[in-house]
């Protein structure tokens, strides 16, 4: 499964970004290959429709689940139709490293 985690900076000690579409980076983690890749969010400064553009981009990377602390109001329907799962982390001080540890301990 491929996870996209919103990140404030491009390293694993960075916190999860509180915005989804306007997050600075996305940490793309594949739990099969255990590979982590940080991608800069080029849509974060566009004036409108950042959400749908980001979803289209993440969908093209074949992302299965998106992890963030918040999702914008327009995003939910789009993600539902793309069959991409949403996970809301309650604590925005959670680091990318911690989230990846949780995923790695996942019972399949």
């Amino acid at each position: 499964m491929k996870y996209a985690i919103t990140a404030k900076r491009d390293n694993i000690n960075s916190h999860c970004d509180i915005h989804f579409a306007r997050a600075s980076f996305f940490a793309i983690y594949d739990n099969q290959s255990k590979e982590i890749k940080f991608i800069e969010n080029e849509f974060r400064n566009i004036p409108e429709r950042a959400g749908p553009s980001v979803v289209k981009f993440l969908s093209s990377l074949k992302t299965n689940v998106i992890v963030s602390t918040e999702f914008g109001e327009k995003i939910k329907n789009i993600l539902d139709s793309e069959k991409i799962g949403m996970v809301i982390i309650n604590d925005n001080k959670t680091t990318i490293k911690k989230i990846i540890e949780i995923i790695e301990n996942k019972k399949e």
Partner: protein
């Protein structure tokens, strides 16, 4: 007999279960705010939508939204003035897809694959509670 209430649509469930007052005496007293009331405050006050727009989002008529919103504000005022806790619970609501809270990693997630036995998308735990 009164007509049963229509279901109200909620976009995201609240991230917390409620609020606890600080420094008061009767710490057990709580005001229960329904999820539809929580959503009306979120749409009208936090996202600054008009009541008309909020009503469309929740799939109810504008007068119904006004009623729900006014009860919500009354309850918040009651909690503030009388020093009560606030609990988010219940209400005739539905979500776009089923949402659950994981008892293991404490995250909220949706059942996007529409599995009959959903598990946490993050940690794979089965100790989950539905949010409705």
């Amino acid at each position: 007999m009164a007509r049963p209430k229509n279901l109200r649509k909620i976009e995201n469930p609240p991230q917390i279960k409620g609020y606890q007052q600080v420094g008061g005496k009767n710490t057990q007293d709580a005001v229960i705010i329904n999820l539809e009331e929580y959503e009306s405050i979120k749409l009208c006050d936090h996202l600054s939508l008009t009541q008309e727009e909020a009503a469309i989002k929740m799939g109810v008529s504008r007068p119904t939204l006004t009623r729900v919103y006014s009860t919500a504000r009354k309850k918040v005022a009651e909690a503030f003035v009388l020093g009560k806790n606030i609990v988010f619970e219940g209400g005739k609501v539905y979500f776009d897809s089923d949402w659950y809270k994981c008892g293991n990693c404490n995250s909220l997630f949706n059942n996007y694959m529409h599995l009959s036995k959903p598990m946490c998308s993050l940690c794979g735990s089965l100790s989950i509670t539905p949010i409705n």
